[in-house]
């Protein structure tokens, strides 16, 4: 009886202190250390200035075009760049790298794609842009106005771009382009009432996107 009382007298503070210590340590681990461990950064092969290209060519589709069969070309291949970049244009270091290392050697530029979905996801640009009439910036944001390529952050476990989960560890977003998970697809489809009773809800609907 007396022993228990003695414990009650002295230990409560310690217990709370250690609870708080454990709590704080794990919060630091989960919120600060874990994201640093989980993500790594890579730089693009060289800087790309979207703004300057938009001034020259006018529209996203000039470079990110749809092919005749409706498939989306994505990041341009060297073949398209070469039309203008056979020789060094302007005076930037990046232009020099591009022409000397890639154009002259017919080497494709290994661009890192911020918005590339995992291989298990099938996404049709054609359905959204050509059929749905959506604009590029609705999902991709004001990328056309950027003058520099930000560092490419990727997940060390999955190998995919951080843009898919989003910058926020909690998965919070302000803009559509802050996160590109399946919930985000679903949210937009619900809001816009896209084919709520067809392919996406029927048996086999999984395979529309997860082929």
């Amino acid at each position: 009886m007396s022993t228990v009382k003695a414990k009650d007298d002295g230990a409560g503070g310690f217990i709370i202190l250690f609870f708080i210590l454990g709590f704080v340590a794990s919060m630091i681990l989960g919120w600060i250390v874990f994201p640093k461990l989980l993500y790594s950064q890579k730089e693009q092969p060289f800087n790309f200035d979207h703004a300057i290209h938009m001034d020259m060519v006018g529209a996203c589709e000039s470079c990110h075009f749809f092919r005749d069969d409706g498939t989306f070309s994505g990041i341009p291949k060297l073949a398209q760049c070469i039309d203008c970049h056979q020789d060094v244009q302007g005076f930037t270091k990046d232009e020099e790298i591009f022409v000397n290392e890639y154009v002259r050697n017919y080497r494709e530029v290994p661009w890192l794609i911020y918005s590339e979905q995992p291989d298990c996801v099938y996404f049709s640009h054609s359905a959204h842009v050509l059929s749905g009439g959506m604009e590029c910036k609705t999902c991709h944001g004001p990328i056309a106005e950027t003058e520099t390529s930000r560092p490419y952050e990727y997940n060390r476990i999955t190998g995919y771009s951080r843009d898919i989960w989003g910058k926020s560890m909690l998965g919070l977003k302000k803009n559509p382009w802050d996160r590109m998970k399946m919930d985000d697809c679903a949210e937009c489809h619900r809001e816009n009432g896209v084919k709520q009773n067809s392919a996406q809800t029927h048996k086999g609907a999984c395979f529309v996107c997860h082929k």
Partner: protein, 756 residues
């Protein structure tokens, strides 16, 4: 102590609470699930522009049209070409997995010269100039030493520009020893030559037949043009047509047939002639065809007045169902009912050539089966056998010959395909090894060129072939792959694979219309390889003189373009040249024999007067020493020609065919019991030419005293995916020369089986 423990627990609980309120567990779960769905080691084609290239598959003589799907510059899938006259969208397992030959591990990536011992696998990579010079110098040396005939050449296919270039090279060089891989097509060609008087290849209007008797032909095991036969087989099923399979073993075709006639191996011709007996005896034959368009049905007399028995006399004198039953093991009443159904059908068709048809077979058997088709008039008509003229578009002027070439070409052939013995046969690849080893031609073979063939694997009696190879000082392989022959070569000048080269592909085997396909580069060459036509022309030009002069073309492509002439544009556009309105010649014009009629009996029989043509082809070995009969069997899952199984195909081999590295030999349970062998037991299989370790698989699908091994296994070169698995049945068999054609007619070999 207590405080410390409780504090520690409090720390852990605090940690757990903190962790739960941090993103760590939730994010980690999500990431791990993504990771498991997209294993980084799963190959995924790169993203890019899709495109399709139409071409022709050359992995077997079938000549299927293929449509290859590409993503940017990488081929990612091979599909059958829709609407193609051979395969109409279908594809076989080998064709579908052809990308593994293009991108797989068995490619020869650059010209190579042997540096170690033969077969040791030590090579040095050399430049094309060095390789061409090495070959030219060696061949020039042999020629100037006065032995041009001592250079031999083996090619895979017989027709088209590439084989013709090799033939031209050999002529200009001065050697008679040009050989092509032999198969049932050769036996059919000789059959049509003798019975129709035509230089023709067979076309089978199989899809339109309504009663098919197959004498061992693996209709769904790769016979003819495999995919075309699958389609025909499907059509028969859909339309309730009848397929009767005559075969000693329950093959897939036999299992799917409406009736399986289990015949004694090697006696198929006797059964065919016994069916003819019933048809003649009961007056069931096509009277108008036999009376008006056929000769030698009745007894006949030659120009000198000598009388010969006709087909009728011959058949009625020795092939009654009762007699045939003793030889074939087939019940006489079954023979009678089979013959009646065959003759009573509207569009009957008889096929022959065992399994896939890789062995030419007994000419007598082909003629017996073709006579059966003749009896019912199934010649050049819907649902029958059509004689299609051999491709004749290669019309180059003859090369100029110098003194050395003329002298060399006068010499006898090493394979024995000339002189009086085999007047109907162009070359006998199976006779080559014997010719070399015995020195029967009177001169030594010093060099061998091999293109599109893999004789060290596909020829029977591998020890003899190996011995012949060992005695040949200089072997050049033009193979795209490190196959068995390339591995034993001294110099390899690798060809592009069929997906990287342009080449004409004439005459898909068994198609009943003349067709030329064009194989086109689907992707650019992946390695430092060269179209074999260009390599050969390079060697010839390097040698110069009349040999170089024989090849005036700038390149192989220029040669191809010139050869195709007006057809070039169509071939470039469509990848195929089809005679759309083709119809077979009517019975009145179809035959070019001396009688201008279908010859039931021909000069071939007179030619072989002193040979026992009507007996069963005897196989090697004596029953006393070797009580069993070993027969080979074919499977779609096992590529048994010059190209070996792809890794994907190797995965599909059934567990009762191959287990780990052991092949199963199929044995009747009664035979196994008499040998004290049980299912799965390891046994030693011995034949007069070799022995091998096998496992026993009991099967009611094979007769007593007969055992069967699959073809296509037992590779030792190629890649680890197929090498070292099972036994090459060609190593255990020995070729038997057909008395008329000289081609390999061995349908089996005597064998014994004992517990190991």
């Amino acid at each position: 102590m207590n405080i410390a423990r409780r504090s520690f627990l409090a720390f852990l609980i605090g940690g757990a609470a903190g962790t739960a309120l941090s993103p760590l567990p939730w994010k980690l779960t999500d990431d791990l699930s993504i990771w498991t769905q997209t294993w980084p080691w799963t190959p995924v084609p790169p993203d890019g522009e899709y495109s399709y290239v139409n071409s022709v598959c050359t992995l077997c003589p079938g000549g299927c049209g293929i449509t290859v799907r590409k993503v940017d510059n990488r081929a990612v899938k091979i599909e059958g070409m829709a609407g193609h006259p051979v395969n109409d969208g279908g594809i076989c397992i080998l064709g579908a997995s052809g990308l593994q030959l293009l991108y797989g591990p068995r490619r020869v990536k650059a010209p190579m010269r042997r540096v170690g011992e033969r077969g040791e696998g030590k090579w040095e990579t050399i430049s094309w100039d060095e390789a061409i010079a090495a070959a030219a110098e060696k061949l020039e040396g042999i020629r100037s030493a006065g032995n041009p005939q001592g250079v031999a050449c083996m090619v895979g296919d017989r027709y088209g520009t590439v084989p013709s270039l090799f033939e031209r090279f050999m002529t200009a060089y001065g050697s008679p020893n040009f050989m092509s891989d032999a198969a049932i097509e050769d036996s059919y060609r000789i059959t049509l030559n003798l019975m129709h008087g035509k230089n023709a290849i067979p076309g089978f209007d199989a899809g339109n037949a309504d009663f098919v008797v197959s004498f061992g032909s693996g209709v769904i095991e790769g016979w003819g043009s495999p995919v075309r036969m699958f389609l025909a087989h499907g059509k028969w099923k859909d339309e309730n047509k009848t397929l009767v399979q005559v075969e000693p073993r329950l093959s897939n075709t036999a299992a799917k047939a409406d009736k399986w006639v289990a015949v004694q191996p090697g006696t198929e011709a006797v059964l065919a002639l016994s069916m003819a007996y019933v048809i003649i005896k009961e007056n069931l034959y096509d009277k108008s065809f036999v009376a008006e368009n056929a000769a030698a049905f009745e007894d006949w007399r030659d120009d000198e007045g000598k009388t010969y028995p006709g087909f009728k006399t011959f058949v009625l004198n020795g092939f009654s169902p009762a007699d045939a039953s003793k030889v074939t093991g087939v019940d006489p009443s079954l023979i009678v009912s089979l013959a009646r159904s065959f003759a009573g059908a509207e569009k009957p068709l008889a096929l022959c050539g065992r399994g896939k048809g890789n062995t030419p077979g007994s000419l007598h058997e082909f003629m017996a089966v073709h006579a059966l088709n003749g009896l019912v008039g199934a010649i050049n008509r819907p649902g029958g056998v059509w004689a299609i003229d051999v491709p004749d578009y290669v019309t180059w002027p003859k090369p100029g010959l110098d003194e050395a070439a003329r002298a060399g070409l006068e010499k006898p052939r090493v394979d024995g395909a000339d002189g009086g013995a085999y007047p109907y046969t162009e070359s006998i690849i199976s006779g080559f090894a014997d010719g070399v080893n015995s020195g029967s031609a009177g001169y030594g073979v010093e060099a061998l060129l091999v293109s599109g063939a893999n004789p060290l694997y596909t020829l029977r009696d591998a020890q003899a072939v190996r011995k012949a190879f060992d005695s040949i000082g200089f072997v050049v392989s033009f193979s795209s792959y490190m196959d068995e022959t390339a591995a034993q070569a001294d110099l390899i000048l690798p060809n592009h694979t069929y997906l990287e080269r342009r080449q004409d592909v004439p005459a898909p085997f068994g198609l009943n219309m003349p067709v030329i396909g064009m194989s086109r580069p689907v992707v650019p060459p992946q390695f430092d390889t060269r179209q074999v036509g260009d390599s050969l022309m390079g060697i010839a030009r390097k040698m110069g003189g009349s040999v170089g002069d024989a090849f005036g073309w700038e390149s192989y492509e220029a040669c191809l373009k010139e050869t195709m002439g007006a057809a070039w544009e169509t071939l470039e556009k469509d990848g195929i040249l089809v005679k759309a309105d083709y119809a077979p010649e009517g019975w009145g014009e179809a035959f070019n024999t001396p009688s201008k009629k279908f010859q039931f009996f021909t000069g071939a029989y007179r030619h072989g007067e002193n040979k026992d043509l009507m007996s069963q082809m005897k196989i090697e070995g004596e029953a006393a020493d070797f009580p069993l009969i070993l027969i080979p069997y074919d499977s779609m899952r096992l590529a048994s020609g010059p190209v070996a199984d792809t890794p994907f195909m190797a995965k599909t081999i059934e567990e009762d065919v191959l287990i780990h590295d052991d092949v199963y030999v199929q044995v009747n349970p009664a035979t196994a019991a008499s040998l004290n062998l049980r299912e799965g037991k390891v046994a030693e299989l011995t034949t007069p030419v070799g022995k091998a370790r096998v496992r026993v698989h009991l099967s009611e699908g094979i007769g007593e005293g007969v055992i069967a091994l699959p073809t296509g296994l037992g590779h030792w070169a190629n890649s680890k995916y197929i090498a070292g698995k099972g036994v090459n049945v060609n190593r255990l068999m020995s070729p038997v020369a057909d008395p008329v054609s000289g081609l390999d007619a061995a349908w089996g070999i005597r064998a014994k089986l004992a517990r190991a």
